[in-house]
Symmetry: D2
Subunit: 354 residues, 4 copies
């Protein structure tokens, strides 16, 4: 099973290479009768699109989604929603330098080894451009989950770490700056830093934090399909992600159980939320929050040494348009994947009780 589908009941299958005719997907299992706000879907795509600010790749691509099926008179019909985004600004000649060589820490080498050859243009299928299709489907999932509020934001860039909890900030401020950090002062510092990194032709990593609020109790299917296990897989499937933690996460290991346990209030809510809104793999109604670690993008605009297909060492130079730091544009992707996970578990949870 080539791994291009996600979800069991609310299921997305994506297709498309960075420089092929189009990317797109099929969303199967979206319940019928959902009145879609198409401009809102396009708006999510616009949050992800290249060229939106000075700190992201300058590739200019409108990324306009066309829906091909599954919608009638503005509403989902319960049949598969096919959609496509044409690739309109493929500068394929930008990539001729990688046709016969392998860029370090990219997928070039392993694709050639696994599949025998590869569409090398712009990274082909391994390009993060594929995630635009996820954003389309995630935007539909958000509309399906209209009671649930999903908010992702940048909480770290390099060493610049936001030392505030999500409760201490107005998360809507994230959309007011190009970094997508809800703390304006930190956002400005991060932006400055990313510009510096960019000038060096280098890249830097970061963290995206995400919060899902108003999640009903009961989502998640133990034992293997625990809610946080699927969230983890969904996040780790995004390009450049190296780690995932939820609730107390890696810091929680230092705590003792007597402190870490979340005491109950009488209504079933808890006084603390080290559990991150999930217990035993099932949502408990408290806020779900988690962190996603992104490595520094592998494409750098510097001279570097690498090998060609024949195993010869070669000198080369990064070219093309790239992101000095991936996290600002990855915020809508993290939200989209969160929405897909929650939509799928929402449907699954309808089938559990008599």
């Amino acid at each position: 099973m080539a791994g291009n589908s996600y979800g069991t009941l609310f299921k997305l299958t994506t297709f498309g290479e960075s420089h092929g005719a189009a990317i797109g997907g099929v969303l199967d299992g979206c319940p019928s009768g959902l009145l879609l706000d198409i401009p809102a879907i396009q708006a999510e795509l616009d949050r992800r699109k290249p060229g939106q600010s000075a700190i992201v790749t300058q590739r200019k691509e409108p990324d306009t989604v066309e829906f091909l099926s599954g919608i009638f008179e503005g509403k989902t019909t319960g049949t598969p929603i096919g959609f496509a985004i044409r690739n309109t600004n493929q500068k394929s000649n930008d990539y001729s330098h990688i046709k016969d060589s392998y860029r370090p820490s990219h997928a070039d080498y392993v694709y050639d080894q696994k599949y025998g050859f590869r569409d090398y243009r712009g990274g082909g299928r391994s390009s993060a451009r594929e995630t635009a299709s996820r954003v389309v489907a995630g935007a539909i999932a958000k509309q399906f989950l209209k009671e649930i509020k999903i908010s992702a934001y940048v909480s770290q860039v390099g060493e610049l770490k936001l030392n505030k909890t999500y409760q201490e900030m107005d998360l809507s401020l994230a959309e007011t700056n190009p970094v997508r950090c809800p703390d304006p002062e930190m956002a400005a510092r991060m932006e400055e830093y990313i510009k510096e990194v960019r000038k060096e032709g280098d890249t830097i990593g970061g963290i995206i934090s995400c919060v899902a609020q108003n999640v009903p109790i009961g989502l998640g299917e133990p034992v293997f399909d625990k809610l946080h296990a699927e969230l983890g897989k969904a996040m780790l499937s995004i390009n450049a992600v190296k780690g995932f933690e939820y609730g107390s996460g890696f810091d929680g290991i230092r705590m003792k159980g007597s402190l870490h346990n979340d005491q109950f209030n009488q209504d079933g809510t808890t006084k603390t939320n080290y559990s991150g809104g999930i217990q035993g793999g099932i949502s408990n109604g408290m806020d779900i929050y988690f962190n996603v670690a992104f490595k520094p993008v592998a494409t750098i605009i510097q001279p570097y040494e690498t090998i060609d297909k024949a195993g010869n060492t070669i000198q080369t130079q990064g070219k093309g348009r790239h992101d000095p730091c991936v996290v600002p544009r990855a915020v809508p992707i993290v939200e989209a994947m969160t929405a897909l996970v929650l939509a799928d578990f929402t449907l699954l949870n309808r089938t559990i009780k008599l």
Copy 2:
């Protein structure tokens, strides 16, 4: 799809509650003709079993696996391998105190909410006892993957952090002490610390690190079923896990791309391995390594306040046999899940090329 199956081609389905008649599973898709070393499977179970040392739960249960099908004349036949482990030492009366109340940070509350009621004895299905079935299947997967060496070990307990890379240690030493830390000195300190925590009736978290060596190039199915995404899901599906990172992980976000990129040697290996053996979701032949964060076990032997089913606040007291720190016994579980992931991707990878 109630989530009790793992894997696409090498597929495990588990069943069983902590205090029911038996736990067990069905492993479907294990290739035919594999000569099984049954004592080696039992030996893996023994690594996980309760009562094996002074720092783990004193529940005494032999955990003997019985194979019911799928093996003939010592070899797998290609048909499903059914197996069961009888529950022989269920002290159900130990759990009468939780019948009508909810333990903090356990799954009691959410199971009742999701399913309408629950088998409360010993945590029922949410008990980590379920993982014994994973160890059985993982042990078979290990034998199938005989070229690949999977080594997990404890690298942190509370604040006690092992500051050595896996290359700096003899990992086989992990099995020489009850903590399963390959550094004997640190192991002794960890053991001491866990005993202290135990005396307090408290618990503490920890980290298990895992290394998979000799993994062939090409495992992993982008875009959703990236190798590290499945490893992440598999680890996060283990009881008490709160986080997963691979390669440079959360630390990698502080690095610049020019440093983080793994430069190639002429044979396709890399000079560094920040990628953790996986690029673009596909194994590149280098060592795969990752960390798994475990929270402090929720069961503590102290008085505490909680609520009952009716929402009344009650005073209660942790009883029963429990683990002060889960990581020593979770080492074989991490290895088992790693083996299941790699076995599944090994089979999937047979179907990719013409």
Copy 3:
């Protein structure tokens, strides 16, 4: 994906060989809160068991099911239901004659070719004994679907064909005779005929008809998982089945559309039911009815010529206990598979609308 699972949400995985330690299965996804009537499950097994009458195999096996998990205080908990049926009467020496040779029209040859070797005792995994596990799960499905009435019966044995529609008979009479034909006179003729065939050491084929009544409108998931397509697959997966037709079936091809179309009544029911209760792959609330063709059992008690593993022609003689006609014992299997299909679609149908 070795094919030992059936269903998407209401999912059965079976294991076990005819002469291994046990057969059994795991039923995952059965909704929680279902009060199980365990004797009714055993009663279904008894309808399938060998030795129940003079016209079926005389193998004597009690076929007692033991439930291992998923049931607490008499009710399903929503966790997987594990169960096993011990094999107690395996006369393995009966089968030494087939160890190194291949019986015509059995699975011996293809199993050896596909898997490299086989558990030859009693046909191993290819034995119809596996269907006992389906009957257990199907009996649970029936209890879940309590509004739906599923009635299968024998409608043809060799040339003896029942020329009455299901509406013309009292289907409950099927259980009053060993053939399971609801027409007593025809049942007597069929019984007589099967005894004759048995005396010859020969076997004969037959047809089982099945009716599902009170099926709600809306079951079935076009385009690939049409209700009748899944019913067809489910039936064809039963040992010895060679054909499936529903509604007007093969006879309908001779009709013109103007006659074949089912005219509506004002309440949405139809005046005729050539559609067999399914239109466009979705149940329309009318009775679902279909026929399942079974070949003559391959095991005959006569001398015959065949080949051994080395390709030598050998003379041999059928031995062991066998069924001269499989349809009487297959009636509960057809009902069980029908129930599994309908239970799965019932759960799927909960997820379709907003």
Copy 4:
């Protein structure tokens, strides 16, 4: 799981309504390195397209497939193959008469009941137009299976039944006449008859027979995913299909086992082939052959009585362009689905042995 995907490893997902923007699909799991003959794919589509002869619907639609991804330098890359066929000749006003009423024996009523509303234009998703996407994917599957020869043909139209076995005819002659019957004389009679039926504004059913030759031994995954069970499901998922039988099929029930058993030759082939090339659910290397029954198309061009959404009886009149007999155009669909099944099992079979 809305049922718009077929296959486990070689997996097709289709989308699209009869009168939406486009139909199409994603084929995931096609092995990399397959040099595609694109004109051959279009040629298969042309075999299915409307307007190709006087005995099929006169809707004129070029049905040109555009590939969007997964192909590079003429070869499959192992990434998903996205494709679309634009709907160019939708005369939506032809269907205004069915907007608020239900055509007998169509899916109109059940779609409204299941999904709450429907895209009524041309039958929307329930239109057989969807099968064009299957033909595209099936054509790729055929190229992947290049050793296997799949030949479908019309063997019955109404009462006109071809009384020759497939061995007695030159199957390639099927493509020389509009009925797609390999017996020229019978083809002429069938064509004449279909024209008569058409003049009456009526429709008639038929049978398509299919043969797959040079199938390797070992395809099929018992116990649930037997080769013939999947073939049956695949065929029954095609619009208008009411029955499936393979090998001796429904006629085999009249035979005794002593006659029906296929005796072996020394090389493992069999002297007869009542088994239809499949034993125990696994291909045995002999020809696979089966029959598929199609009902008379429900769309007739005659006045008829039916009900509207409010349950009122109304008089109406069939309009639009339709097929008087579906089997001539369904021949390439049967072949396509056969190819998809065999391609999937071919990949699955690579994972069975050590």
